[in-house]
């Protein structure tokens, strides 16, 4: 049916109708008058014969309307009028929901970005990869080649690694950038096509350093080269080596890790040239970050895993010295070994956000129930006048949905702002890490569904109340007639809500406490007063024997800075920086067959200079530290940590002077033992570690470690100046070790922050909940309280009468929440180091917090109850 003219021509139709009816009554009146009635009489009978004109008009109009839609619209208008009449209630309800739905939308946005959305490449659903950490089966280039050629599950396998801290020199200036070193088939496996120019292919690789090509990421091309198309085909210097820019990747493509945006892509066969320290010919290195490819049609991930493992077993047999095979985990490409952690974290957040929404619904449900009770007279009147219960319920539900939609809209607006900021946020300065969150239609649908669902959820709370309402009783007795002595829905809701809030408060306290503790725990070094500076000599073209000599000169130069107590270096990353660490198999001295499976332990390996321990603040437990004489020509020596000593040699004192073997057969003598520490992440179990002399295995890239009590800013400036003094072409920066710990503390920080925010929201919700309940019960019982006061009740008794119930519910809910919270925080221990709920401080903190919340929330109602003036009150009734 054509409805457009209906909408627009309707007012004319209605006007015609009204006029017609009036004329009808007029005609009838005149007719009756002509039959001899008086005007008054005639008018009266005409109206009577006509029937109820309003009803008739309404029914006539209905003909032109979509009946349900328009009566809903009528409900909406009535509801918004009702809500405008009580702005306090409306604002409180909308804000509560906005907070709760906003929190859910933000968490959903993060979940969507991290978990639901696949990598932005074609057919991402069949793209599977190994998880980082399968050390070292797949992590050397020759092993990768074997896996690529021997597996039967993947259409084609590619892999990549990081090319971090590379000096990109356009001829005008050299700027540090971070990229991926990828196998030649990387882009072909991913099925992406260049934005301009071309990509490198497998056919470009002809052994080490054979493919000096670089592909720019779109963002880097935009920011560094200002979208200049003419640079394709030109040359840049990467760490002083000439590379041809062959193409630019498409805008949406940001490599194969969701939270890392590389600046450029270069062939993996060339990475050794840039000083990565990973010659592609060795089988025992751990250079490759991930291996990935599309599964062949019909192959399940489980079958692929079994296939990959069988290749691993084959390799282990063939190269027993280099490989100790461990079973491989395959997963969707994009989140690597963070998959489980990210999923758990996001699931946890989603759960907590859901709890917040539930608490908000409980809160609003009880508010609505109270409102319905206050309006029971109105409802009764409407029932008595013939309104159907269905109609009244629909009215109440409309109000609820209206509020939930308003709250949802506000919440989504807030969450979009927050998500936009999150997506441009760089959590760790200097690292190309970002959160891939962009709000999209899915988010809006989610919020809409959530808003409607919660609207119905709290809207149906008063349903029973309305259905059971007996209009006769209520109109007769007045609204304050029944004061609930039994347990009402509202009581249950309040307890549920307080319990949820207590869970949130408990979790956030546990998280905060865990974070504080992990900041003050023993790392095995003292990050405070220690500065780190990452210098890659390859960026200035140093190589071979020049490297250690130059590094020694730089250490000596650092020592001359005023106020510096000690200086040293460590090859690659120091402990707890960017969560990186290298492990290596070691063998007992008498081990004959040095195959990887026979390894005694797998300690972290650090190649350090003399002075490192002093600079790092690591204390020596026995023996001596390394010296400048422990070089290539001297016998190999090592300092080990306590864990290593106890595991292999029984005790610290036993270890000094004893020997062990490295994979390559080198016999190493233990000359000293240092304290235990943390090496990769804070939550790790105690791991063994060994410290060898950097002089025996030089690497152009090292972190200089400098200890000083002077202001970090001053020292950093002095260090930069010294480095430039030694070689003006060296890009270098200096940061305190504490600030670099941010990376390892990042998960804990984020968890704590998220929990803190949710905990605060929980607290606010419980305050409003208890406040609402207490205020309502006081206002309902004003008359009773007045009579009690008049009869001589003491203040204490009044308070007990007015607030006993809310407080009892509060205590009950808090206890339940605390117990639940203790269970919940067991999950937290995976993210936050040393998060334990069995901490008296946390327990008493939660109890105190809930008490304070209760006090704040009942303060105003209590004041009102005490200020009852029986005279005024009784006169009013």
């Amino acid at each position: 049916m054509n409805w457009t003219p209906n909408i627009f021509g309707r007012s004319r139709i209605y006007n015609d109708l009204s006029e017609e009816m009036l004329l009808h009554i007029e005609e009838k009146t005149e007719q009756l008058m002509s039959e001899g009635m008086s005007r008054e009489e005639a008018e009266r009978s005409a109206r009577l014969a006509f029937g109820n004109r309003t009803v008739m008009e309404e029914r006539s109009r209905e003909v032109w309307q979509w009946p349900t839609l328009e009566s809903i619209w009528g409900d909406v208008r009535l509801a918004s009028r009702q809500l405008r009449k009580s702005p306090g209630f409306t604002i409180a309800a909308v804000c509560t929901l906005a907070l709760a739905i906003g929190a859910n939308a933000v968490v959903f946005g993060i979940m969507d970005g991290l978990v639901l959305r696949p990598l932005n490449v074609p057919q991402a659903e069949s793209l599977y990869g190994t998880q980082y950490g399968d050390n070292p089966t797949w992590r050397s280039y020759p092993n990768f080649l074997d896996l690529r050629d021997r597996n039967r599950s993947f259409e084609e396998l590619a892999s990549f690694n990081f090319a971090l801290g590379v000096a990109v020199d356009t001829g005008k200036d050299a700027v540090i950038a971070n990229g991926f070193a990828a196998t030649g088939n990387y882009f072909d496996v991913l099925r992406v096509h260049p934005y301009i120019g071309r990509f490198f292919h497998a056919s470009d690789e002809h052994g080490p350093d054979s493919a000096p090509f670089v592909v720019l990421a779109y963002g880097y091309w935009h920011s560094r080269f200002q979208d200049d198309r003419s640079i394709v085909g030109g040359t840049v210097l990467l760490n002083k080596h000439p590379y041809t820019i062959i193409g630019v990747a498409p805008p949406g493509f940001q490599g194969t890790l969701m939270f890392v945006n590389p600046d450029f892509f270069m062939p993996i066969v060339n990475q050794d040239q840039l000083g990565s320290g990973y010659p592609t010919g060795r089988r025992d290195t751990a250079e490759i970050f991930e291996v990935f490819g599309h599964l062949k049609p019909g192959v399940t991930p489980a079958q692929a895993m079994a296939d990959v493992d069988s290749v691993g077993t084959y390799l282990e047999k063939t190269y027993p010295k280099e490989i100790a095979h461990r079973s491989t985990i395959l997963d969707r490409e994009g989140l690597t070994s963070f998959t489980n952690g990210a999923h758990a974290f996001v699931a946890g957040l989603m759960l907590l956000a859901g709890l917040i929404l539930l608490a908000a619904c409980a809160n609003l449900g009880s508010l609505f129930a109270a409102r319905a009770a206050d309006r029971s007279r109105e409802v009764a009147l409407r029932l008595a006048l013939g309104s159907s219960r269905k109609r009244i319920l629909r009215q109440l539900l409309t109000e609820a949905v209206l509020i939930s939609l308003a709250g949802g809209t506000l919440g989504v607006l807030g969450s979009v702002v927050l998500l936009r900021r999150l997506s441009v946020w760089q959590p760790i300065a200097g690292a190309p890490i970002h959160l891939p969150v962009t709000p999209d239609a899915k988010l809006y649908w989610f919020a809409l569904v959530l808003a409607l669902a919660s609207g119905f959820l709290f809207g149906i709370v008063p349903v029973r109340q309305v259905l059971r309402a007996n209009p006769y009783e209520i109109v007769k007795a007045g609204s304050g007639a029944r004061i609930g002595r039994r347990v009402t829905v509202r009581d249950v809701l309040l307890v549920v809500q307080i319990a949820i809030c207590a869970v949130l408060v408990t979790s956030s306290m546990v998280a905060v406490r865990g974070l504080v503790r992990s900041l003050h725990s023993n790392f095995g070094f003292e990050p405070s007063n220690t500065m780190l500076s990452s210098v890659n000599l390859a960026t200035a073209g140093y190589s071979g024997d020049q490297v250690p000599a130059m590094q020694r000169r730089m250490i000596d130069a650092m020592k001359t800075i005023h106020g510096v107590e000690a200086a040293g270096l460590v090859n690659g990353y120091p402990p707890l920086v960017y969560g990186a660490g290298t492990k290596e198999s070691v063998f007992k001295e008498d081990a004959g067959d040095l195959k990887a499976a026979n390894a005694a332990i797998m300690p972290y390996r650090y190649d350090i200079s003399p002075g490192y321990f002093d600079a790092a603040g690591t204390s020596l437990l026995a023996g001596r530290s390394l010296s400048w004489h422990d070089d290539k020509n001297a016998p190999a020596v090592a300092v080990i940590n306590r864990e290593f000593a106890e595991k292999i040699f029984g005790s610290v004192t036993n270890a000094v002077g004893r020997n062990y073997k490295l994979q390559d057969g080198t016999r190493v003598q233990v000359v000293g033992v240092v304290e235990n520490g943390k090496y990769q992440v804070l939550t790790e179990n105690q791991e063994p570690a060994m410290f060898l002399s950097f002089l025996r295995s030089p690497l152009s890239w090292a972190y200089f470690v400098v200890r000083s009590k002077r202001d970090p800013q001053e020292i950093a400036a002095a260090m930069r100046a010294k480095i430039r003094e030694v070689d003006t072409g060296l890009p270098a920066d200096a940061q305190s070790w504490t600030s670099l710990l941010d990376t390892v503390l990042f998960p804990a920080r984020v968890a704590t922050m998220a929990l803190g925010v949710l905990g605060m929201m929980g607290a606010v919700l419980s305050i409003t909940g208890i406040f609402g309940m207490a205020a309502y019960s006081v206002s309902k019982r004003m008359r009773e309280l007045g009579i009690r006061t008049a009869l001589g009740a003491q203040r204490k008794e009044i308070l007990q009468a007015a607030l006993g119930r809310p407080l009892k519910l509060l205590a009950f809910g808090s206890a339940a929440g605390l117990l639940l919270g203790i269970f919940a925080t067991k999950v937290l221990a995976f993210i936050v180091y040393q998060a334990t709920p069995r901490d008296p401080l946390v327990l008493s903190g939660v109890v105190l917090a809930m008490l304070i919340l209760g006090l704040i929330a009942t303060w105003i109602p209590a004041r009102r109850a005490l200020s009852v003036n029986p005279l005024i009150l009784l006169r009013e009734e």
Binding site: E20, H24, E27, G51, M56, E57, V63
Partner: protein, 118 residues
């Protein structure tokens, strides 16, 4: 006062529309005249609440079974005159025949002995 409401309720759905269409088939009329006509023709047996005519007229208008036009009556009153359309005529015929069948069925059930077929 006669309980007009009862008789109005007793009309089955569509009955009023049918009567309106039949009246209009004879000659176009405005609302008041229609009411008068129906009441007279039914010997005042059908005491329709006068106003209830209007929802019925609106339904007919919407279904394009009648059309309406403002004009001036013979008594010099401003009136809105309704006229049956072609579609209205066809609809009326269908309605009458289906009503007759129904009426026949009801009569047979109520008075099984007498065959009241025409």
């Amino acid at each position: 006062m006669p309980m007009t409401q009862n008789s109005a309720r007793d009309l089955f759905p569509g009955a009023l529309e049918m009567m309106v269409l039949e009246s209009l088939r004879r000659q176009p009329a405005h609302g008041y005249a229609l009411v008068q006509h129906i009441q007279q023709r039914s010997n005042n047996l059908l005491q329709v609440e006068e106003g209830s005519l209007y929802p019925a007229l609106q339904r007919l208008l919407k279904a394009k079974l009648v059309k309406a036009e403002w004009g001036v009556s013979s008594t010099n009153r401003r009136v809105r005159t309704y006229e049956i359309t072609g579609a209205g005529l066809r609809h009326l015929e269908q309605e009458i025949s289906s009503f007759e069948r129904m009426f026949e069925g009801i009569s047979l059930v109520l008075a099984p002995g007498k065959a009241t077929t025409r």
